[in-house]
């Protein structure tokens, strides 16, 4: 009799057993996750790194120019290569290491001081990760003109720096400078290019 019942329902008994095994393993797996983990990598002898120059030191130079009077700017950088009007602002351009991509220095509305700077194609050593290491986590992220290619805008509000960078590739296209804790100029100038949500890329 029992044998017959077993024969008749053996598929269900079998499925039940599988279920029990899976549940058991799941419980075991979740318990294992809570166990303190021991480090897998043995401690290594600390070797002092050879000091290398910080590739982001250059930012200090440009940051210091923000809010400086136009005269001081001209003293430091000399006369501009060109003066153009972009987004209703007077922009002085200075040659950079990349042909056709001069650094743009935006003057304030009263044209008396520097309010915003855009530097294009920084050196390869200036990477997204180095910016995060040096300035901490970005405060805001926007989607801009190059977002379709994975280059979004990361804003370090407290330091007055923004980068157009590809997080996946660790590459930077542009570095922007503005008054620390004051993104007014950035938002005014870049207004039409900034989006808070990820756009569809066709």
């Amino acid at each position: 009799m029992i044998k017959n019942i077993f024969k008749k329902y053996k598929i269900f008994i079998f499925l039940g057993l599988i279920l029990i095994i899976i549940i058991f393993l799941k419980i075991r797996a979740s318990n294992q996750k809570n166990l303190p983990t021991t480090p897998l990598i043995p401690p290594t002898v600390y070797i002092a790194p050879t000091p290398t120059p910080d590739p982001l030191l250059i930012n200090k130079f440009w940051q210091d120019l923000i809010n400086t009077p136009k005269e001081s700017l001209l003293e430091k950088l000399g006369p501009a290569e060109k003066t153009v009007i972009t987004n209703n602002r007077t922009v002085l351009t200075y040659p950079s290491d990349t042909e056709n991509w001069p650094t743009q220095v935006f003057l304030s509305i009263d044209k008396n001081s520097v309010s915003f700077i855009k530097r294009f194609f920084p050196s390869k050593e200036e990477t997204y990760l180095r910016f995060i290491e040096k300035y901490g986590q970005y405060d805001k992220k926007y989607f801009g003109e190059q977002s379709p290619s994975g280059f979004d805008i990361y804003i370090f509000e407290k330091t007055g720096i923004a980068i157009v960078a590809s997080k996946d590739s660790d590459v930077i296209l542009q570095v922007w400078y503005f008054s620390p804790n004051n993104t007014e100029n950035l938002l005014l100038i870049e207004n039409k290019n900034l989006k808070e949500t990820q756009p569809k890329v066709f």
Partner: protein, 797 residues
């Protein structure tokens, strides 16, 4: 259809060729001792040696320095000989895709600089070389054994005379029966005669005093029924002497050559992989099967039956000693299934199984009911070998093709190997490989293309299944279920795996459809036990093949609820989100239930599982395009079969562009192709491409759209390349207008970038395409946008 899976004509990129040429240059630089401490471009001496060895091993160029030690010079010379082929421009289309991709990747400038990659390559090489060394050692031992001359030929005649004198009266008694056997062609009578005759022969030997070495040799001889009948029917003792001498004489020069060059390799490629736990019977089985594998070489009596029987006997006993001391266990990467030796290809029936594919030993399969080896040996003894050779050949062929199938070796891979062999000038290999490919194709078709729609289902799902399988495996390993599977395999390893394989083999033999045709009830009552033990080892792969239908079935049968979605693919989507950790506990529990049901259904549907085994839905050691594409894309949303086929076809065409594909794909971050029902253009968000109706319709359209959208993801994953593009084409005074084929104007630099790639590839794949974005005309990137063309060829292709 299969050609879509393994491209037979990849786009010539000259990438590998230039990388190999650079490797050769570096090699020549380091030939001079004084240069060894210097850098050649970005190569070091050690680095160059590792990569030289890898190329030689991977492309199977060992034959170029046969007999020499594996020195730096000989490695370089092998590469140089290979590169000196007049057809070198064909290189990329002849190297099998998996090998090509592997070589391209390891020779990639960035990868080459990574020490850990070089180290891991070296480690794998050491294992491969150890395997080759072991193979060579066994080869030598078996050759010596086979050619060992225990009795000088001139002594044989004298010995034959002594034996004939001794057996004469008894052999005369067999004359009547012998006559009858010839007249009636009575197999049973022949068998009886052979046994009697052999007994008479052995007794006679026992009565004569021979030196021990002679005795050992003579005792190992097995006279065939043909010889016995001949001896019995002959009346003249001199004639008898000649007959017996021919049967027991050592191998002639021609026979030795045949054995050494055509038969022995089959034996040692099988023996080398046997573990020390293999029993004496199993070893004899393997040696006998090895002879059978090369049956076509001696089926026309090129080798007398007695000599075959003798060789099987002595080689089995020699193999037993070899195997007893076998401590080395090789990985599938080091011990391949297809081995090239002396211009021929041998298939190892004992090569280690690929992890994730069905386990178990193929050589044990025919022993249970089939008795292939027994039939072979008996036919040799009974003198029926010649008549039965055709049938035996077909049976061993099935076994060999079954082995190839479960090792994931496909017809396309064999065809590409044939091309490579042709390139190397090894024409006997070409014929062999092409014949094997053709036999494998009909074997697989016979096994699983019995329903007319099965072929289409298979084709459209194959690539997708690999992708899904990876997700399943990912989930399983996270949940601990795979440990159950692994535990199952290791704990009951041998028996369970062997039963599993036996069931698959039987399923194949009796016809997969017939297993399921009896309905679920019948399978429950007859097949549950065997099926339940059968499927665990290859479960996830089998589930992968069945993924699209199995979960649909699960839903219908158990009415799990609307949460799973309307079809198999939306379930894949849910699964993806499970594995990414974005779901709640309840869904996870639900998934557990679904999985249990899935497992149950896998057990029940023996037929489709057999399809997946035989059809090659398993991992190939050499890698394959299907695997590569599945490491790049996954599918989500409700795809119908037609659209799915179209999209898969687009992916496969895209994957032909190896350089682009390798830079685009990242197996840790798949590109998700989401089917979306809307009337807008398809679009990208993050790593997902949303495919709408506008981007399908036909294969050309699907290819064009997919390429464009992947162009955006390519930019994000290759920021340095995009940055260079932006420098040139994003500047105010850009040297060339944006590519007009992109229909939405104005065209941004990002779209220009994606479209440049698209136009380049579409020009190659669909040169007649008309572009509405440029006023409905044909556009050629090279002639109309030469600066864009130069950029993409320099940086991307």
């Amino acid at each position: 259809m299969d050609s879509q899976v393994y491209p037979t004509t990849p786009l010539p990129t000259n990438n590998l060729l230039s990388k190999l040429a650079l490797l050769s240059e570096a090699g020549h630089f380091y030939l001079e001792e004084k240069n060894k401490d210097q850098l050649y471009k970005d190569w070091t001496y050690t680095n160059t040696e590792i990569y030289l060895r890898e190329v030689v091993l991977t492309l199977g160029l060992m034959e170029y320095f046969k007999g020499e030690s594996v020195s730096f010079e000989s490695l370089l010379s092998a590469l140089d000989q290979f590169l000196s082929s007049p057809d070198k421009n064909q290189l990329e289309s002849v190297v099998p895709f998996g090998i090509l991709k592997n070589l391209e990747e390891i020779l990639d400038e960035e990868n080459r600089k990574k020490e850990e990659i070089a180290e891991s390559i070296k480690k794998a090489q050491d294992e491969k070389l150890a395997y080759i060394k072991k193979l060579a050692g066994i080869k030598k031992r078996l050759e010596q054994k086979a050619e060992e001359v225990l009795i000088p030929p001139e002594e044989i005649v004298k010995i034959a005379q002594q034996i004939i004198e001794e057996i004469q009266p008894e052999i005369n008694n067999l004359a009547k029966q012998s006559q009858k056997a010839i007249e009636d062609e009575n197999e049973d009578l022949e068998k009886v005669l052979q046994e009697k005759g052999q007994q008479i022969y052995l007794q006679a030997i026992g009565k004569i005093e021979f030196p021990p070495v002679f005795l050992q040799y003579l005792l190992a001889q097995e006279l065939s029924a043909n010889t016995i009948i001949k001896l019995a029917n002959q009346t003249d003792n001199l004639q008898r002497q000649v007959t017996l001498a021919a049967a027991i004489s050592p191998l002639t020069k021609e026979e030795s050559l045949l054995v050494r060059e055509k038969i022995l390799p089959a034996v040692y490629v099988n023996i080398t992989n046997l573990s020390s736990q293999t029993t004496t019977e199993e070893i004899k089985e393997v040696v006998t099967l090895s002879f059978l594998q090369e049956i076509s070489e001696f089926s026309q009596e090129q080798l007398p039956s007695e000599k075959i029987l003798y060789l099987i006997k002595v080689l089995s006993s020699e193999s037993q000693e070899i195997v007893a001391n076998n401590q080395e266990i090789f990985s599938p990467a080091a011990a391949p299934t297809l081995i090239q030796d002396n211009g021929r290809v041998y298939i190892s029936l004992t090569s280690p199984p690929i992890p994730g594919n069905p386990q178990g030993e193929v050589y044990k399969l025919p022993g249970k009911k089939d008795n292939l080896t027994k039939d072979f040996l008996e036919s040799l003894k009974n003198g029926t070998f010649k008549e039965k050779a055709g049938q035996l050949e077909s049976r061993i062929s099935d076994l060999t093709l079954f082995k190839l199938s479960i090792q994931g070796i496909s017809t396309e891979e064999l065809e590409q190997m044939a091309l490579l062999a042709k390139y190397k000038g090894s024409f006997s290999e070409v014929t062999q490989l092409q014949e094997t490919a053709s036999r494998l194709r009909s074997f697989q078709q016979q096994a699983f293309y019995r329903r007319s729609d099965q072929l289409q289902i298979w084709e459209t799902n194959k690539d997708n299944c690999f992708s899904f399988s990876q997700q399943v495996q990912g989930f399983l390993s996270g949940s601990g279920i795979s440990q159950t599977v692994n535990l199952g395999v290791s704990k009951f390893a041998r028996q369970t795996a062997q039963n599993s394989l036996q069931n698959l083999w039987s399923g194949l033999k009796i016809g997969a459809n017939r297993i399921t045709s009896g309905g679920i009830g019948k399978v429950f009552s007859t097949g549950l036990k065997t099926l339940s033990t059968a499927m665990l080892p290859g479960l996830s792969k089998a589930a992968a093949f069945l993924g699209l239908n199995i979960f649909k079935g699960a839903k219908n049968i158990l009415k799990i609820g609307a949460g799973i979605g309307s079809g198999g693919l939306s379930f894949v989507g849910s699964l993806l989100s499970f594995s990414s950790g974005g779901s709640g506990k309840k869904i996870l529990e639900l998934f557990t239930w679904v999985l249990v049901v899935a497992i149950a259904i896998v057990f029940v549907l023996a037929g489709p599982i057999t399809f997946s085994v035989i059809g090659g839905a398993f991992v190939s050691q050499a890698g394959s395009i299907t695997k590569s594409t599945s490491e790049c894309f996954s599918f989500e949303g409700s795809w119908d079969q037609g659209d799915l086929g179209m999209e898969n076809s687009a992916i496969l065409s895209l994957s032909n562009s190896l350089s682009y594909f390798s830079k685009l794909c990242n197996k840790d971050q798949l590109i998700i192709l989401v089917r979306e029902n809307s009337d807008q253009w398809c679009y990208v968000q993050g790593n997902s491409i949303y495919i709408t109706d506008k981007c399908l319709g036909n294969e050309e359209n699907a290819f064009y759209s997919l390429t464009h959208e992947t162009g955006h993801i390519f930019a994000a994953r290759n920021g340095t390349i995009y940055s260079e593009f932006e420098k040139i084409f994003g500047a105010a005074n850009k040297p060339e207008a944006a590519v007009c084929t992109y229909p939405i104007k104005p065209i941004t630099t990002s779209e220009d970038f994606a479209e440049s790639i698209t136009l380049y590839l579409t020009n190659q794949n669909y040169p007649e395409r008309i572009y509405n974005g440029c006023g409905s005309k044909k556009v050629i990137l090279q002639t109309e946008y030469p600066i864009h063309y130069t950029f993409v060829t320099q940086y991307i292709f």
